[in-house]
Amino acid sequence: MAEPGVADISLVDVSLRDGNQSLWGATGLRTAHIATIAPALGRAGFRALDFSSSTAMGVSVRTHREDPWALLRLVRAAIPDTLLQFIGTGFRFISWERAHPEVIALVYAALVRNGMDRFVVLDPTHDMDAARATAAIAKKAGAREVIGALTYTISAVHDDAFYAGIAAAYASCDDVDRAYIKDPAGILTAERARTLIPSIQAALRGKPLELHSHASLGLSPLTCLAAADLGVTALHVGCGALGNGTSLPQAEDLVANLRASGHAVDVDDRLLALVSRYFDRLAAAEGLPKGEHRGFDAAFMDHQLAGGVMSTTRRQLAELGLADRFGELMAEIARVRAELGYPIMVTPFPQMVIGQALANLLSEHAVGGARYDNVPDQVIRYVLGTFGKPTAPVEPWVLDRVLGRPRAAELADEPDPLDVAALRSRFGMRISDEELLLRFGMPAAEVDAMIAAGPAVTHYNPDTVPVLRLLRALGERPTARELTVRKPGFRLSLKDGGQ
């Protein structure tokens, strides 16, 4: 670790949230995986850990049957010194439905109470009124740090002046402490960074700037070096198997490169290695893919899909028996994105654009079908302005096709979201705020199953996983009488000596 005051670069680790989401579909890490490594992560010297999101909390309940609030508390107890970041995506919690502002205030209060202290303010349409409102709610709830996102995309409208305008809005908002360039598709080149970053820095008027650029195209390790030279003080990284690929740049490599270019980095190398090897061992034990170096792929510049979305889309196509149509779908995604006014490809918009592209693909192959025959509710809500004003106007003919549907009228008349009192009377007066919010965001059966499963296991050792798996498999085969393990220079033979 650099001497106090000497380091000019600090790191924000994203392994637990964005790393897990980008590489392992948000489902790879359970409470035990996280709790086991949390103390070392907390001591490694990261400025902050990207820790949770409403999606991650939903996965805890749905996939792992584990209480996400308990996980937050457990990790906060293990990590007293490092900022723990929660990334919010506008006025919703777990489900895609728009939530009442009172409910969002309750969400933030509960997050702070359970240990989160750094909050990302992210409005996918760069609607600054919405961003300011969220920042105010977070600060009022007790957040120590609020960081505003500048979501990077390439389009006709998103030039340096556009981002400088957003940065100026963050600079003038007292509830926003710093900002970061969020590049979910990993399409920010070092060349563009050299004009973009100074424009943003000038507009931020002294508020620090961080860079979060995914490694999906192999560009970000170089972009990060350029950013460091330009005075960006915090870079987002992933550790070991949870770095590189569609995640953020791998921390150890980036630290070495930063030092080689004359920067001092604020991290404990011993613990960084320890944490990185832990994720490597975990990936191997659980059969999860390790982030690999990626080559440049120009197609990304058009569809601009984040890594996690990409892997989910491949899986969905395969499930529909359309695995061979991936290229066609990518082209359709780029087309739909343009028609819908270039929404930035961050949650919830990729899901929306892909949903529409997939619907179009299926319609075109149906007899007599045409594009926009089927339109998912999320797209209708987007066109209605539920998520804010689109960055550029929606193509007029698409606007007509979408709003001309009877469903559009129904959705336009959707009742206002329920406030906290209404949620209480629906879900119960005696349950905790935490449980109330889970029940608001998820089907009752999921929450009930989580509670029935009891407290989560908190201890994990990746090295014992293969042995335990073997023993479990043997237990399922009571007739097996002999076991032999053979590897070079080693042979273990067990025989049942029983009657």
Binding site: P80, A234, R270, V457
Partner: protein, 493 residues
Amino acid sequence: MTGQSAVNHSQALRRVLVANRGEIAVRVITTCRRLGIETVLTASDADAYSLPARLADQVIRIGPASATASYLNVDAVVGAAVAAGADAIHPGYGFLSENARLARACAAAGIVFIGPDARTLEAAGDKLAARAHATAAGLPVLPGGDIELAGGDIEHSDPRVIALAERIGYPVLVKAAGGGGGRGLRVVREPAELGHAVSVASAEAAAAFGDPRVYLERYVERGRHVEVQLLGDGQRVIHLGDRDCSVQRRYQKLIEEAPAPDLGSDLRERLRAAAVALGVHLGYRGAGTVEFLLDTARGEFCFLEVNARIQVEHPVTEAITGMDIVAEQLSIAEGRPLRLRQEDVTFAGHAIECRIIAEDPDRDFRPSPGTITRAVFPAATMYPGYGLVRGAADAAAGIGGSVRVDTHVQARSAVPAYYDSLLAKVIAHGGDRDGALAVLSGALDRCALDGVTTNVAMQRAIVADPEFRAGGVTTDYLARYLAGREDGGAGRG
């Protein structure tokens, strides 16, 4: 740190020197590793190849086998910490764990001593001072007094000492002011024995603690030894419940359990409150234990002493609370406030610990050093620091149970003659005391140690003994049990 860092990592300990040996060295290293803290172990020549020496990130040889030349050498320990660039020293238990001179030397060298400050160590380590503090904090103490204050001469039988003993009432106990662990203790049943007992105890105390002062206290023949675990941050003190350590042989604890059985909620609450009151009075910072002698029949208790360090028997408390007391010590040493409020401490089930010792119960418990040729222990199903693990939660619900083994021995481990002969602690947790007993007896059955003689068979027999199983035995239990065994109870052991 960059100037913009919102939090301060600098107080975090990065390298800790473990100034101990045996199972407690393994225990401290294990938690440090879990937390990502580097460890440096000081090892004597006899322990250079021990398990803790292989687990530590770095080992520093600090002297020959003799403890006075190695583990008890304050200058060597502090010198090793400075040389290794350690931020802190964890002293474990025994050796220098309650040594105020070490705490002062650490402060002078800019190293954190993981334990209470020197002032508290002096207040607690000096049994006479501790008695005075306990009285000041409103705790009942046994009738007793300071021989020097009584004007007596510790070298010879002195009428003033005899008068003090008369006032206390026989039998009296001669106790060392400077330390515990059974050394410098003598029971005196009549005036004629007093002078000799005082001389012998004083000589023993001088040899063990470098402090010849002894004092007198009423000897309670039949009481229960119950203690309360405390954590303090210098501002706030909480308790982690009680433990019963009444199964003792010559003041050496052999079996400990938590919670203390059959106390009744009123007595239990009074004990815990008394311990916390003393902790508050001392401005206690760190982990510590307040020991009491308990008369269950009368529902009364008296303060015995404060142990200003981690205890051998801390795992039973960890088993029922899901906490890692070593991690709490480290957190407090980092200057943090207590992470828990009293209401955050919850108790689940019952835990019992058996000490496995290299000694021969058939030869008056003579130590049995040597080389272990075979060491088999039950598989661990609970670990400190991972909360109330599933197993423990299941146990609390009345199903299953969990086992933990704290040990530093493996096949081919040496058991040097120079040190305490504790080999392992087998800890069992169950939904209730019967559940814990069932788990414990299964766990002890799985222990197989060859090469040295151990007390495993005796521990199995005690765990099967109806009187022990009934719960709430007094401190004279083990002597009676052993006498019964010698009187023809063949097969009992």
